[in-house]
Amino acid sequence: MDSLNTRLAALRGGTSPVGFSARTIAGLNENPGCARRALLDASGADKDRIGARVGFPGRFGQSPFALARGRVFEEQIKANGAAQLLRLLREKLGLTIEEAAYLPLEDVGDNTGRELRARHTTAQLLRAAREGDDAGTLFDHPMLRLRVAGCTAYLEPDLVAFQVGGRFHVVEIKSFAVIDGQVDGEQVTAAARQAAVYVLALRELLADHGLDPETVSHEVLLVTPADFTNRPVVSLIDVRKQLAAVRRVLARMSRVETLLDALPEGVSFDLAPDDDGDPTRDPAELAAALHQIPARYRPGCRAHCELAAFCRDEARCADSLDVFGPAVGGMLGGVDTVCAALGLAEGTRAPAEDEAEIARALRHAETLRSGLG
């Protein structure tokens, strides 16, 4: 395992590692076949800055304004021993009056080290699991651990995990509005994916200590503002589907060793930062290193991967049909470049045996098109 970590660190070079977050783990699922992303993420490379360095700065992440809004809403929910959250849980989930204990876990004394916090969190959660209802109800900002590709990812539900009806629930506090009982599907899905990562980490924590992992509910509580007010509402989301997906992707990540073996000697994503933290690595060299690892660009990448602009450009230059997305790729099954597809359509390229049918369809389409024009 150590040698794996050393190899991954070498890949990253002198840049400090970007830890996995629930968001990035959930994001791995978006394009599981992409070796480039798997390796960059496993090594803790900063994809955002790498993308910028090779000339493709991304517009990625939430705006600072949205982040600030999220923090204000979360603070409001958690103020005064999480009074607003308690009310929701009592009214909507029948939490008993006795259960009102609130444990802030965002530091241990003045110390905010992740490992120390993780141990502290573990001790508190185990006590709650073993001793039952009295040992704590609301755990604010617990620090969880999850093994990802042989490394420890530290996960901080920016929210609360708690015990209601004898089960742990992950609580996600999000500041996107629920309007007329409707939430933006994509945002909820994203929240569910993240929450599933927390559920998994919590379950592993219990299992590691000989407790029943099923004590952690697969239902996650999503707290959001109602309509355009700051009044919070809670919804229950079943994350079983997302859990299964996260498990699959983690299993795949453990094969990162195979990906490393396939790499040519000396490939590195080192940004070689100077004293100001500004990268000094030659962009062309860095880009060349990226090209060494096979990627699988698809339009969806733009929504979840910092390297999307770079990979899109690469796919275009390589003439790959991937830029059009999986639907087009699937339709033209087997034909994988734009050149080949056009050649078949125009009849300038003789179809191979398995391309005959596709070639006929393309030629037909071309006749229609020229008929129109």
Binding site: A52, G55, P57, S63, P64, F65, L67, A68, R71, V72, E75, A79, N80, G81, A82, A83, Q84, L86, R87, R90, I97, E98, A100, A101, Y102, L103, P104, E106, D107, V108, G109, D110, N111, E115, L116, R119, H120, A123, D134, G136, D274, D276, G277, D278
Partner: protein, 270 residues
């Protein structure tokens, strides 16, 4: 929000430095990209600053005698007044809200943040020179400063310690104190009703049927009913921690908390 503003300012300063560094290197692509980022962050700063300003303007001022300008009463005394009214450890947000609801004068949120550091410094340089100090609450497990909760040094140790149930119990006690102040008709402002309501909605049975104003008597009864449920457990946890503090901590630590050394048995490895 203030913190976010500061974080953005840091970010702006760092970006500017990077822009200059890139200019020195004549890396024009990087300059362009950094400046675009800089503009984006500056815009975010503007938006946040606007939002803060709007918030501040919305806080209505007291109707009768114009509020005396802030500096006349030092911030620490404002805070002391509020904490004395509440009688429980409180976060700056709550302190601000109670102040607006019952006291004249301004209590800028930014002053609260620096206060705690000043108090500890002042105590360390000449212990006991002031009649009271504003100090953090202490956590019951580690006897370390509890994040963001302010107390008064003259309170009994048990009141300054926060156990697992204490946030709830103190919230309920604060509700009783605020209801009481409202019933006494202590310098009511338009913010008073809002404050009462913010307590009442989070306490079972504290809001009157229909849409009428909050009844302070009902609020008190509801809060006391819930206090009774938690009281024993909370008292025990606080008393046990206070005992430990008396045995193990020196005077300064009993006021300002221990700095974490190690959790016995839990930090042996890495």
């Amino acid at each position: 929000m203030q913190d976010d503003l500061e974080a953005l300012e840091d970010r702006i300063a760092r970006l500017r430095r990077s822009v200059r560094a890139a200019m020195r290197r004549r890396d024009s692509a990087r300059v362009k990209e950094l400046r675009a980022e800089l503009r984006r962050v500056e815009r975010a700063w503007d938006e946040l600053a606007d939002a803060l300003e709007r918030d501040e303007r919305q806080q209505p001022s007291a109707p009768e005698p114009a509020r005396p300008p802030g500096p006349l009463v030092p911030a620490r005394e404002h805070v002391h007044q509020v904490l004395t009214l509440l009688g429980v450890p409180a976060a700056p947000k709550l302190i601000g809200a109670v102040h607006r609801a019952f006291f004249p004068g301004e209590l800028p949120a930014s002053r609260l943040a620096s206060l705690r550091r000043d108090e500890e410094r002042s105590f360390r340089s000449s212990p006991g020179a002031r009649p009271y100090y504003l100090c953090p609450a202490l956590t019951s497990d580690l006897l370390a400063p509890a994040r963001g909760l302010v107390t008064v040094s003259s309170w009994p140790l048990e009141h300054r310690i926060i156990g697992p149930l204490s946030p709830r119990v103190d919230f309920l006690r604060a509700a009783v104190a605020v209801a009481d102040a409202a019933q006494r008709g202590l310098h009511e402002t338009p913010d008073t009703e809002r404050l009462l309501r913010s307590f009442a909605v989070s306490i079972p049975g504290a809001t009157p049927r229909g849409t009428g104003p909050i009844d302070p008597g009902l609020l008190t009864r509801a809060a006391e009913a819930e206090i009774a449920v938690h009281l024993d457990a909370d008292r025990q946890a606080r008393a046990a921690a206070a005992d430990r503090a008396r045995r193990r901590l020196d005077e300064t630590e009993r006021l300002f908390g221990t700095k974490l050394r190690a959790i016995p048995g839990k930090t042996a490895q890495g």
